[in-house]
Subunit: 143 residues, 2 copies
């Protein structure tokens, strides 16, 4: 059994338009849509939908794994996802991705599986979300 | 202890532009972006990102609960999410939402919690995704 590894993704920054665009389509809550309503809300400012954060965390996870030489194909299952802090306009996010051994088999053809623990952190090293996922990795490629 | 209840959301349909727009921002895989590449892929056609499906399932869950008189505020935690079938262009989706008793307390102020089981179904009554979530509901309002 090999040791668990941990890799960081590239950083991304969320702008206001992206937060509002996502919310209009998928999560039309006042604190994701309107600055004034958001300032007066429990979050105290315009912040991103948790589903936008989840999708971004998954994308950053794939990028971090590929950068580390892991043949990531897609995310197949989320076993846990929790939002810990709001992500505000211009916050910078990085995914810290930890993983262990490859598990044989996957619902995706010609793939095996990898369980990953993802902590999404802001520029102050505060965790904004955490999730555990199972991802598909191409069979036979060296990790 | 009250009996578990089950309610259905309104139906929605995913169009091609919405699938491609989401994928460009959050999940840039060929089978979410390009019809020809998708036709040749393991899915056999252009299909939506699982994260778009998750976000839509969450939105439909809120709508179903509000329609049923449950004072849904937001989703606070996902305990499990699994994608079972691809969702193709023009597929119609409905969320079946089951829930039991209100649990005292929530990370959201002035709210309690409700655990919900969500099955997202297509027009052929096939499950395309399932998830279990904890949602915040306004304290003191009758369910």
């Amino acid at each position: 059994m090999s040791e668990a590894r941990s890799v960081d993704s590239p950083a991304i920054t969320l702008d206001e338009q992206s937060i509002v665009d996502f919310a209009q389509l998928f999560d039309p809550q006042p604190y994701h849509l309107d600055r004034e309503a958001a300032d007066a809300s429990i979050f105290g400012g315009l912040c991103a939908s948790g589903w936008q954060i989840g999708a971004l965390a998954s994308r950053l996870t794939g990028e971090a794994l590929v950068d580390a030489g892991v043949p990531y194909v897609t995310t197949t299952q989320v076993n846990y996802m929790r939002w810990l802090r709001p992500t505000f306009v211009d916050d910078q996010l990085v995914a810290q991705v930890s993983f262990g051994d490859v598990l044989s088999g996957s619902p995706v053809p010609d793939c095996d599986s990898l369980d990953v623990v993802v902590v999404l952190q802001d520029a102050k090293d505060q965790a904004v979300a955490e999730m555990t996922c199972r991802v598909a990795v191409a069979t036979g490629e060296i990790i």
